[in-house]
């Protein structure tokens, strides 16, 4: 959407202007980061060592890229072929997501020149060590899952066969690695029982992180299908997306139910009577989960592209709210300090998001990401009414 095709519409120009402004501010923030260090480019402090670049860029970035492993599991391992048309966009999103997370880490880590250290200096007791290994290996798997799209574009059939030969163990490995590090991002915070506010600190954080990653991966699939349908003037695969909406409703229900049981067993509901910032942030986060879940159970909502899209966006925002609460706001009181990101932190984060949108757009345009596979012309997609207003783009 950002790097628009050369149409002379003013709306596109506005987007381009915003895109350029974001990248310019990001470039200046990068200069500050390189020359003046973390002190000159962030509002981090000894009492609050992790901020937006961890809370959003890493924790949300990895989660929002979870559609890759969810759909690979659904299509190739559970053999639900009907979801095939959205598999490649999901893999592309995941691959770009992990690249951007790595790029974001280069900003956040104090010594980016030593990013490779965890690969040779081991500490198996460290969750961060495990995450570093999983993310490195899974990025490699995603690269291999993405490569056939490139080979196909240039008509290289031999290498596609090679990758095809190792594809099943590779995909199983990818799903396992994702299971591990999606949950481990929650495990990271088990070490701060006295700092993280009790509405969020729970021994089941790893489980909650894993289930919510599956849900948001599905929501992102709906989100990106909707946007690419508009951007590329394709028909929206509505029956397919409606069916994903159904799976999303179930995944969210499971998540919310575990969340409810956890609060119940820890006797944590009393905390909601306190008039504190945390209470309101918690209620916002939960509302952004409950409302779309309830809506998605109605066929009327699932069949309406706009309503389905709004539900997916709510799930995504609810997910972001949750990760920011665990990674940032829920830690403020326990750390005895207040943190508001500096403008340069926001600029870098927005730049990463904008770059993600732009690269997705370019690859979607020039590579066979959206075509149905030649071997199996995904039946579900063919029935879509051409009158769908969104197909006009």
């Amino acid at each position: 959407m950002m790097a628009g095709v050369p149409k002379r519409l003013p709306r596109i120009t506005v987007w381009r202007a915003i895109f350029a402004a974001i990248l310019l501010s990001g470039a200046y923030a990068t200069y500050l980061r390189v020359v003046y260090g973390l002190g000159g480019s962030t509002n981090l402090s000894d009492k609050f060592p992790w901020g937006l670049w961890i809370g959003f860029d890493v924790m949300c970035g990895v989660g929002l890229a979870a559609g890759g492993f969810t759909l690979v599991a659904m299509v190739h391992i559970f053999n639900i072929k009907q979801y095939r048309p959205v598999l490649r966009p999901a893999i592309l999103t995941a691959f770009l997501g992990y690249l951007l997370v790595t790029l974001g880490l280069l900003y956040d880590v104090g010594r980016p020149d030593r990013m490779w250290h965890p690969l040779v200096m081991w500490n198996p007791h460290s969750v961060m060590f495990e995450v570093a290994w999983c993310v490195t290996l899974y990025s490699t798997v995603l690269f291999l899952e993405f490569l056939p799209i490139v080979f196909e574009r240039f008509g290289l059939h031999k290498p596609i066969e090679w990758i095809h030969r190792i594809s099943v163990p590779m995909m199983i490995l990818g799903v396992l690695l994702s299971t591990l590090h999606q949950s481990s991002l929650g495990t990271l915070f088990l070490i701060v029982p006295e700092k993280l506010y009790p509405l969020w600190y729970t021994p089941v954080l790893p489980l909650l992180f894993f289930v919510s990653a599956i849900a948001v991966g599905l929501a992102m699939t709906i989100f990106e299908s909707w946007h690419s349908a508009r951007a590329f003037g394709r028909a929206l695969e509505l029956p397919l997306l409606a069916s994903i909406g159904r799976v999303l409703a179930v995944a969210m229900s499971v998540y919310l139910w575990i969340r409810f049981l956890d609060l119940l067993h820890r006797d944590a509901f009393g905390l909601l009577l306190r008039n504190r910032t945390e209470t309101w942030l918690f209620l916002l986060e939960i509302a952004l989960g409950v409302v779309p879940t309830a809506l998605l159970y109605q066929a009327r909502i699932r069949r309406s592209p706009a309503a389905l899209y709004v539900c997916a966006v709510m799930v995504v925002f609810g997910f972001i709210a949750n990760r920011l609460n665990v990674g940032i706001t829920g830690l403020e009181a326990g750390s005895g300090t207040h943190y508001i990101p500096k403008w340069s932190e926001v600029a870098v984060t927005l730049s990463l998001v904008a770059i993600g949108f732009a690269i997705f757009r370019v690859i979607g345009q020039y590579f066979p990401v959206f075509e149905a596979h030649s071997t199996e012309p995904a039946p579900a997609t063919r029935e879509v009414k051409e009158a769908d207003p969104l197909s006009v783009g």
Binding site: G37, D46, K47, M121, M128, L176, S184, L188, V192, P193
Partner: protein, 248 residues
């Protein structure tokens, strides 16, 4: 035998000699301006904090089972047999997980440096392994900071509490906090009144993440069998359907 530090707030006169000795040991500048800062930072690894009529010291607790060492992805932090938790700056990637994990908020960072390091007290590891006292204990004029064998210091602390029950709050801070530390505090008033965190868990923190991490081999092996099995079942079904399809 592991070593430790005993800080007795009732003996401290707030002269800040320990601050100066510590700065000297680390090669950090120390002047009136630094002395006035009552927080630890990358340029001040220990400090005296004034709480009304009482003083308290801030320094690394050198925990028996340190959260910082358990979370460090590159093993830059190590608990030594002698007691100190040491830091190898050459390994550190600057993820700052140690800072996030420390329940005492001890590790500090060189925020404005282009090649930043984490900074914290290491209980004068080098001095102690050479048979010397920590710089702060050596210079302390009143014996408020006392350096010695951990067990001997616990015994000493107990006898002080017993000898003057009306002068001491009858507890030793550091005995059970996060499973025990290598720095102990004695105080005339309850510990929270001299700024010590009393909400820290009694159990060692590394257990909290290890309980999950140790499941990793089980998850991977079970997951492989499960996913491989599901793939085998579902694709076999597709295969059969393909073969039988034309006959219908």
């Amino acid at each position: 035998m592991p070593r430790a530090i005993l800080y007795d707030s009732t003996l401290c006169i707030g002269c800040r000699a320990c601050e100066g000795a510590c700065a000297k040991r680390w090669g950090l500048p120390y002047n009136d301006k630094v002395a006035a800062e009552e927080t630890i930072s990358a340029h001040k690894l220990t400090t005296i904090v004034t709480h009304g009529d009482h003083f308290c010291r801030r320094l690394c607790m050198n925990c028996l089972q340190p959260a910082c060492a358990s979370v460090c992805p590159v093993g830059a932090l190590q608990k030594t047999a002698l007691g100190p938790v040491t830091y190898d700056a050459a390994k550190c990637i600057g993820c700052r997980y140690c800072m996030q994990a420390c329940p005492f908020q001890v590790p500090t960072y060189e925020w404005s440096s282009r090649l930043p390091r984490m900074r914290k007290c290491d209980m004068c590891s080098a001095r102690q392994s050479g048979g010397k006292l920590t710089a702060c204990a050596e210079i302390c004029p009143t014996g408020a900071t006392f350096n010695g064998e951990r067990n001997a210091l616990i015994a000493e602390a107990r006898s002080r509490l017993a000898a003057k029950p009306d002068q001491y709050y009858q507890k030793i801070y550091g005995l059970s906090e996060v499973g025990g530390t290598s720095v102990f505090f004695l105080s005339a008033v309850p510990f929270e009144q001299i700024g010590l965190r009393t909400n820290v868990p009694r159990e060692p923190l590394p257990m909290l993440t290890w309980r999950v991490l140790e499941l990793l081999p089980d998850v991977v092996s079970t997951g492989s069998v499960l996913l491989g099995g599901i793939w085998w079942i579902t694709n076999r079904r597709a295969e059969v359907a393909r073969k039988e399809g034309p006959h219908k």
